[in-house]
């Protein structure tokens, strides 16, 4: 069923808010808009930017979360990207990583490809799916207060945590981070592993 609830949050405000006090958290971004959002909030070696592999952001983060159990891992991805990897909600729910949080920047559109509507504007509730998969904490956020309340969950609550943030479709400038995959992984691994990155 199509939803008509008005959405006011701006994606860039939301992402820069989330990343403002990021501490030593490691961030994995889904292809397209959330990669640009993270870049716009400020490039950082602890960001792993995906430019492809649609549907793979959450699972990349799970591998990382298991390898780095003392670090907090946060996924920032789009609703379309998350929908392509719905099975990974089950996989992550069953794996139950304490240090993993997923934040979907949900504009109810495939923004990158021309703003076609996704399932999330037609009754599909990603947070409910994550809850059904056994995530420890799940919520859908529609307001500024909501996002303030959700941020501590992303960073601190025992996971897996899932937050779906409804954002509007206002146009935002393109901000592009590193593009070369080998450079992105080399820089990220060095930030996480130090000299061992080049073993």
């Amino acid at each position: 069923m199509k939803s008509n609830r008005r959405i006011t949050l701006n994606r860039r405000d939301v992402v820069s808010n989330i990343l403002r006090d990021r501490g030593d958290a490691l961030i994995v971004t889904g292809l397209g808009s959330t990669t640009w959002d993270a870049a716009a909030a400020g490039d950082h070696p602890n960001n792993f930017y995906l430019w492809g592999g649609m549907g793979g952001a959450a699972m990349t983060a799970l591998g990382l979360a298991r390898a780095q159990p003392k670090r907090r891992i946060i996924v920032l991805t789009g609703d379309g990207e998350m929908l392509m990897g719905l099975g990974s909600l089950a996989t992550i729910g069953a794996a139950a990583p304490l240090n993993l949080a997923i934040c979907v920047i949900d504009n109810q559109r495939y923004g990158e490809t021309g703003m076609q509507e996704t399932h999330t504007g037609h009754g599909v509730d990603l947070a409910a799916m994550a809850a059904g998969a056994g995530f420890a904490e799940t919520q859908t956020v529609w307001s500024k207060q909501g996002i303030e309340g959700a941020i501590p969950h992303l960073y601190e609550t025992d996971g897996p945590v899932f937050v779906d943030v409804k954002v509007n479709t206002d146009r935002v400038p393109m901000v592009l981070p590193l593009r070369d995959g080998t450079a992105i992984r080399g820089r990220f691994r060095e930030a996480v592993l130090g000299a061992r990155a080049f073993d």
Binding site: W51, G52, L62, G63, L64, R66, A94, V192
Partner: protein
């Protein structure tokens, strides 16, 4: 039906398990195949390995990337049909030039009874090669451990995706005349 319980672990599975340990594998992810049943249960019983059950094989490709970004080596276990589920995610491994070790038990290639296994089984090696994966095919049980070890070295030391296809001759096929 083949009985699954309380059989001794097949010799090749035990050897491959030891090889994976020698190669410093810390994480194992899988979608089950009957051919991998012994190896999976051995991995699940090991206290030091972190195992992940997947809903689809492409999840394991992304998981392997994440594990390596975090400093851990992993292996992905699947049946040949599962290779078809991985193709686009393999582009991420290629573009980031990251290691990936896959052990693929073959169907649809030797004495196969189920015709539905033929299309993907016959296309497995080609599909992997087209996706940039280095492919080793093992038809002699005696070659398996050495090949798995060599594949792990090229994967993790040369930062490349490598797959070992474990032939249906090694895994053993079900002879449907002997019900």
């Amino acid at each position: 039906m083949v009985t699954k319980n309380k059989k001794p672990v097949s010799k090749w599975s035990a050897q491959v398990f030891k090889t994976l340990k020698d190669a410093d594998i810390a994480q194992v992810s899988y979608v089950p195949d009957a051919g991998h049943a012994d190896l999976i249960s051995t991995c699940l019983a090991d206290d030091h390995l972190k195992t992940t059950r997947l809903t689809t094989e492409e999840e394991g490709v992304a998981l392997a990337l994440g594990a390596w970004l975090g400093g851990e080596r992993s292996v992905l276990l699947m049946q040949s049909s599962g290779v078809g589920n991985c193709i686009n995610m393999l582009s991420v491994i290629q573009e980031t030039r990251s290691p990936l070790l896959m052990l693929v038990t073959m169907r649809g290639e030797w004495g196969e009874f189920n015709p539905w296994q033929i299309p993907m089984g016959q296309g497995t090696a080609k599909a992997l090669e087209d996706a940039g994966v280095i492919v080793y095919h093992v038809d002699e049980a005696g070659d398996l451990t050495e090949t798995v070890y060599a594949a792990s070295q090229i994967a993790f030391n040369a930062y490349r995706p490598a797959a070992v296809l474990i032939g249906q001759r090694v895994v053993g096929f079900k002879d449907w005349r002997k019900k």
